[in-house]
Amino acid sequence: MSQNAIIVKDLKKSFKKLKVLKGINFSVKKGNILAILGPNGAGKTTTVRILSTLIKPDSGLALVNNHDIVKEPNLVRASIGLTGQYAAVDEYLNGEENLEMMGRLYHLPKKDAKHRARELLKQFDLVDASKRAVKTYSGGMRRRLDLAMSLIASPPVVFLDEPTTGLDPPSRLMMWTTIKKLAAKGTTILLTTQYMEEADNLANKIIVIDEGKVIAEGTSDELKKKIGSERLEITVTGDLQRAAKVIGGRVDEQRQTIIIAQGGVEKLKEALAKLETANVKVESISLHKPTLDDVFLTLTGHTATQDAEREARRKK
């Protein structure tokens, strides 16, 4: 038995002429959280859809819980839980009914389905709303119910496709806590996200994908070393070009700002000293945690936003 819950080798998938996955490789150890980080259209959802047997890959190999996704789809399905990008809950049923139905579909005996439903309602803080039709739920409650539904049969592997996109900050924090608890109990989790912060907070390992290829992989610390620590932004009142010549970095003319990707505290001191000597007046200074844009800029030379725009153009 392999100690990896998910193994993906050279996975390829095209939709008509559009090559969505151009040979993806990665693996996830049992009980770990892997985050797939990437902009819209990078191939995150396609990867999840393939691993959860919704679509077949054109070529390549993928094992989930030691079962081949193409040859043994039903064994894969029995060992996974899927939470898609949109909460796939039944609007007209109440929370409890949704959970029990899902349990019965995983072929749990009636008694166990009921018992497990009650357990999950408690765990996801949905007991008070359990008898209300889901159409009255808030966005955060729907997502929680959606996740709870995919956990009803206690699957060893769980796929979460952008689990916090569109959630307000408290709901997002709550979701993060839930995901961490789940992994602590031994569930293997693969999640996709557009947020560096989310990947950083949750994942043991992060893979960054762009245009259907893995462009970086490692722990959050390893990636950060690659991208550099914090981004330093210095806004000056004086001559912007001269300032840039003295301290280096990228110039944002509209904001009168110089952006330095690898900007730790030392870099900050150094830059300030140099500007002082060159007699350039500084208006404000800020340090930013690396965003997905920074990751992309460093790894690919273009930003994720540009990437998404290009993608949108190509789809037209």
């Binding site: 990008q85 139905m101 995983y106």
Partner: protein
């Protein structure tokens, strides 16, 4: 696929669809409103000008309205399938270790129950405004049997439509485009004798007319001709073809 498990899955998803009938009363109301308006409109506005030979117009009309109600009722399968596709429910089901076409079975069975309800309501409304059936118990059972078979046929066709159109807007006009011509170019509201010759040939040979003529004959004793067995053959034929097509379409459906 294990048959016992497949039946179990059908049972669970049928239960879900049946709960929708009760929890989504709006849909049932929506199905009943249109035929009720037609019933009143034809009974009290147009009916006086339509010659139906020896039968009173309301006795003539009720079979047509009943079939229209059933057709609208069965076409809700299209909406329900499209909703499940759009809201990701189908994706979720396909990631489960189940026989996923159970979902379609669930919707179709719910249509049968919903149509039985709405059929009974339409007949009661008819009785209130002058419908006087002459049917024997045996004939009532024939009406019920044909109504259920017809519902099954239209419901499976609607499932296919839902899998093809994929959006709610398209589902709306696609249903309209099918149910309207088939109910109007038929013997539902007027006898076919005075129709344009081309339309008349269509109207006298299409399945809706056979179903309507057969039901009318059983309900109020008008002549039945060959329509009785033709109605059953048409419905059975549609069901035999549409079930495999719907299942095949559903299995090869890939989300966009």
């Amino acid at each position: 696929m294990n048959i016992t498990l497949a039946l179990h899955d059908c049972g669970i998803l049928t239960k879900r669809s049946l709960k929708h009938i009760i929890k989504n009363m709006d849909q049932l109301m929506g199905i009943l409103i249109m035929p009720t308006v037609f019933l009143l409109l034809f009974r009290y506005v147009f009916g006086g000008a339509i010659d139906t030979g020896g039968t009173t117009y309301i006795n003539f009309l009720i079979a047509g309205i009943l079939v229209q109600t059933l057709a609208f009722g069965a076409s809700t399968a299209t909406f329900n399938i499209v909703l499940d596709l759009q809201r990701g429910f189908v994706d979720r089901l396909r990631s489960l270790p189940i026989w996923s076409p159970s979902l379609l079975v669930g919707h179709v069975v719910a249509d049968l129950v919903r149509n039985t309800l709405s059929g009974i309501i339409m007949i009661l409304v008819g009785l209130l405004i002058g419908f006087r059936p002459t049917a024997s118990i045996h004939e009532w059972f024939l009406v019920l049997g044909l109504a259920l078979l017809f519902t099954l046929a239209i419901s499976w066709l609607s499932v296919i439509l839902g899998l093809l159109v994929r959006t709610l807007e398209a589902a709306q006009w696609a249903n309209f485009l099918i149910v309207f011509p088939l109910t109007f170019a038929s013997s539902a509201f007027v006898p076919t004798d005075n129709m344009h010759p081309v339309i008349r040939v269509f109207a006298e040979n299409q399945p809706f007319t056979h179903v309507i003529t057969a039901m009318r004959a059983w309900l109020v004793g008008t002549p039945i001709g060959n329509s009785g067995w033709l109605a059953f053959v048409w419905c059975a034929g549609i069901i035999i073809v549409s079930i495999p097509v719907a299942t095949w379409l559903f299995k090869r459906y890939t989300p966009k």
